[in-house]
């Protein structure tokens, strides 16, 4: 079971930037992202989030979001998807960074979940 990370933000630039930040420390982890609406506005897009989930090469996905409505969209996509998906109510960037670095380091799910627990703020 490989683990991957999905980043869902309300803004396209944030999603791209978080990807850029994380890839430096987790070059071998499958990280996909979705930001903003279909038109590039601030918001969230079912299609873009669905694509980020489908395009992620990992077997199991850890998803992080910035604000609540991206979570609802993630939730909807997750309801429709066959992949095991966990949506973390963790600090967005810090949580995604932590998860990615730990996956890169080969840690097990339980250990990663334990490290993410104190980052829960939502």
């Amino acid at each position: 079971m490989t683990m991957g990370v999905v980043i869902a933000s309300h803004v396209d630039k944030i999603a791209e930037g978080v990807y850029q930040l994380i890839k430096e420390s987790a070059p071998d982890v499958s990280i996909t992202y979705a930001g903003g609406t279909d038109d590039g506005d601030v918001g969230s897009s079912y299609e873009l989030i669905e694509a980020a989930i489908n395009n992620n090469e990992a077997d199991e996905l850890y998803c992080f979001y910035d604000l609540g409505s991206a979570k609802m969209t993630l939730d909807m996509v997750s309801d429709m998807s066959d992949k095991p998906i966990t949506i973390f109510d963790a600090a967005f960037i810090e949580g995604a960074y932590t998860a990615s670095v730990l996956i890169q380091g080969g840690y097990k799910k339980e250990e990663i979940d334990a490290q993410l627990a104190p980052l829960k703020i939502k």
């Binding site: 601030v42 918001g43 609802m72 939730d75 909807m76």
Partner: protein
Amino acid sequence: MELTGDKAKAWLLNFEAKIQEHKAYLSDLDQAIGDGDHGSNMARGTEAVKVNLEKIAEPETAEVLKQAAMALISKVGGASGPLYGSAFMQMAKTAKETTDIHELIEAGLEGIKHRGKADVGDKTMVDTWAPVVEALAKDALTNEAITQAVDATKPLKAKKGRASYVGERSIGALDPGAVSSGYLFTALVEEVLQ
């Protein structure tokens, strides 16, 4: 009361017209306690609903509701997208069993609650939907009842969504999603119940 496919279509087209008409007002309401996009979000979403529905020559209730759900889910872009989207998706599923309006709207409310985890009193669209479901159960949905439900969101403190960030300061403001839901039900009264 039954929701036929034709009525469902008329209802949603009326809703779209109301949203377009009150687009700026909805965004203003959202600017006060959120991010100011509820009007444009709903306008974009209902516009897409209209496009989808206009393609349906012989409307069938479940299909109309499903097309509305798909359009709202993919085009709204804000929290109201997955929320209205889940409502219509639940209604579409329920429509395969029954087209009773009370049961349909009740299913829609369940969809919203499942998605948003909000309860009555949290100052969200749930505060419009819940009293509407009760009124429909008694076959007593009127414009007054709708207005009353919408207005009752004013004194509440927001506990869900972006408005929850402003906490106390949300008190005294109408919830934008409750207001847009009000238009949905006024359209229902006009097109289906009257």
